[in-house]
Symmetry: D2
Subunit: 304 residues, 4 copies
């Protein structure tokens, strides 16, 4: 299949279909990004690269980084991690708080804010220098020492983070946060501040298409079983209240971020990253969703 | 791979692991089934059959039949069906009512009771003789004219169906039921009363592993795209509030019923049916879940 | 105090303050009432009558009749009634269903629909001819054999009663309805169909200002303690999600109906009925609320 | 009426009726109070005092102090206060968070934690030295310069205050907290730490039985209208999810605290304070509720 040609075709079809929705505006670093940015980068297990548009420009990957924190915590804790966070889809943000109450402070899954905060608490407990060790882990997976936190974004997130402060205090009232709140939140905001380009993001997540192994070095990042399970979690929980829609329309495990990025993985085949800042009403990239829907339809490449 | 040997091995391992949980008891037809029944039947796209235990004994497939009603309605309505029912996981039964209110009477997905009732309403609107045409459709897919409704079960369901009556009245108050309540409920209870053995169930659902085509006749039951999407819906919505857990542990699209049955489909490979009446606290077959977890781990055959 | 002069003054002040809001329109019998109707009638324990406006025109008292059904059931059951229905305010309609679930089918209080339906179920169990005996009871309290059900309204209510049908089925699924659903709903819709004028309504409810005794005959309708408690329930539960607002602004026990009527009682002093069909967004008479707020402010006659 | 004799009789009747329930234990200062403490103190508008049991021993009045903060804020803000906090009963703690979301960060009423925190935020905005001015205000009303905060309790509250920290952050995310979170919470915990005896508490709240005026000096603390409205709010919102039950059983406006205290007010007649640390399952003093129920039944002195 001529992926380059196909990506260009689908890219243009998506671009022509309009660009409604709104750029996230709760922090200036997101609000000031040009809403017309649009890039895509795909890497196959054979090592082929296909790209188009703004695929080399870095953006804030936001919640997509939660998958990497989970990967590290899962490596350290193994199955024990599921005592502190679940694997079920979360429904609406609205339900999130109600369900935290009903579930006695155990977040529904590790990819919503509440769950990622618990994952951060686990890493704070287990790592000597959490910030340093996490970014080293990500740089290694990404095979790229330039990937880093963005202090400006982390600072802005903190200043507007009353909801997250509410969540962590609520969870701590049930005993499911073991470290000081400020330490965990500080670490969490660093996690959310990571910047990557589509090219870097596709490279970083390629191990999830390769049964947990790095495609170049062959090093095991997750076991086969763990990689499958992490993909399963992305499938059911990666798109907030639109996980079902993404599964239905795109049919690949993936994760979106409020910065407009989406990573999707076809196990055994490829990883593909898309970026377009305007979000639909559920908070996922409008064009990112559209592109991936068209792309998997054209390639008939859903996992189903 | 020697599937027969593997199935026997996994069957015995599961059997040895205990059999906690409770048989559904809200109607006598379910309550009186022996809790120790345990059967499995697998069919590959190549037409090979592998079975063990009580695989030829019929049981009430209950909610599993919702997938077949959806398949028929999807064929008739196409994408229009999603105007009346969503594709998102539902969370707890508790949330179900709240979400119906929040979503103005549009059920979250077609595999929860509320959604299946709306699917039944659609079929009642579109078919001349809904009961007759639905069972004919199922018999054709199953390649088996003996599959049928069980009037005793349908009657019992109706007598204990106050929650379903509440649901349909609530949905009708939003205008999302177009036919008389009694007509729709009567049809719905027939749907839930269908009986199959594991062998029959695996045969019936095999088209979903075969891109929507019957493996023998080659006839198209769903288009490729529709079959993929129906699998996607089973993946995110097939196990009530345990869809994430099933996806995480088993990694295949599937659907469970309160009678203790589970169907799972590996697209491109096989369909497998398991039956064991004791249910875990989420209402899914305890042994059925365990068997499939062990089985997909042994065969490394999840879709992720 | 010159109550007649005061009532006229407050009436005109209220009339001048505008008449926003909407007439209830879910059944034609309510939708077709002139929105400019406005009447008031007050009776003191000394037997003085003061009236103004459309005080002698009958209208559908709707939920106000729930107080009378409760009064009869309370007389028959005594404290046992609180095993089947609570005395707590209900919050929003939205919460109503959630709380029914959380409270296992026991409605929060007898003045919301769910609770009044349970009260009707109790009367159906206890009375030989519920419709006949209830209206006889009301006619006696009202000292007026002309008070009656309106079959047209009862029929319309039934035809639009999907929400109530949902409620009663839901409650029955918890075992808190003992009689056939149709029998109870039929009786409930009769209760809601009663018509009275302001003059008749003030006379009917005067016993609640008089420690449970009829002011003319002296007959005990409720014991002193029961009358106090029924007033207490009206205070906390009489105005749907606006009970606190009414208590805050008016400071008297009362009950409103979707037909635009309000009854309020000052224990030891008087009963006062107001009618104006336009409803505020919480479903209570816009002018009725305003009139009573102005009136109790002018007379400094709240119970607080 | 011989109130002294009556109080002793009702006290003994209550004491004999058992003392189930649990002392609040989330902070040591509450957990270490003897569960058998039991005191009562009543003051009439004529200045008569009647007391029995441990009526002169100070205890932590906890949430009862919220009424005094509200009184001060109401004096300063007037009706404007209702733009930031409502007057409706709150239902369960569970619903509290849901309703905050539904109401966009406006708490249901000023006597639940969320609402009292907003009241504290208002006072922090309006007062130069909030802690000093609030306690001066309370000392004046109490006619007692010895009433004060308890720093040990305030400190303990803060250390266990994750739920309150969650609430205030959540409210601030909606913009309904104007000052720094730590400043407001610090002030709030001081408010909750105030200690009084039954004798002191009855004296402090007597102005609410006297149309807002101090009984000795005649000074206006609240206007007549404001005093009525504050009583109305206590009636519908003073007992968490048991406001209806208290209204039904006792029939007086009042407020309870988790330290086992209850204040109740009979407008135009008296104020009465009760203290007994064991709480029922709704978090209100078991014996306090019982005593007041028996007392108002004996004296037939409910406001209804």
């Amino acid at each position: 299949m001529d992926y380059q040609k196909l990506i260009e075709k689908v890219f243009l079809k998506t671009a022509e279909a309009g660009n409604p929705g709104k750029v996230a505006s709760y922090i200036p670093e997101l609000a000031h990004v040009s809403p017309e940015k649009f890039g895509v980068h795909m890497i196959t297990l054979e090592g082929e690269h296909f790209a188009f548009g703004d695929s080399d420009e870095q953006f804030s990957i936001q919640s997509i980084a939660k998958v990497l924190a989970l990967s590290l915590a899962y490596t350290i804790e193994g199955k024990e991690i599921w005592k502190r966070v679940g694997v079920e889809p979360s429904g609406t943000a609205f339900n999130s708080l109600v369900q935290l109450e009903a579930d006695h402070g155990k977040p529904r899954n590790p990819l919503i804010n509440a769950g990622a905060i618990v994952v951060c608490d686990i890493l704070v407990s287990r790592l000597k220098d959490p910030k340093k060790e996490l970014i080293a882990y990500i740089q290694k997976i990404a095979d790229n020492p330039k990937i880093n936190y963005c202090p400006t974004i982390a600072k802005s997130e903190k200043e507007h983070g009353f909801r997250n402060a509410a969540l962590i205090n609520f969870i701590k009232s049930f005993g499911n946060i073991h470290n000081p709140i400020d330490t965990v939140l500080d670490f969490y905001y660093c996690l959310c501040s990571i910047k990557m380009s589509c090219a870097e993001m596709a490279r970083t997540f390629l191990f999830l298409a390769n049964q947990g192994k790095d495609v170049v070095s062959g090093e095991e990042i997750l076991t086969v079983s763990q990689a499958k399970r992490l993909n399963a979690i992305m499938q059911t929980c990666g798109f907030y209240d639109e996980a079902g829609e993404f599964t239905y329309r795109v049919g690949l495990p993936g994760k979106s971020g409020v910065g407009g990025g989406i990573i999707a993985v076809h196990p055994g085949k490829y990883a593909i990253a898309v970026w377009s800042p305007r979000l639909n009403e559920k908070g996922n990239s409008y064009r990112g969703m559209k592109f991936l829907e068209f792309f998997t339809t054209e390639t008939a490449s859903s996992i189903f």
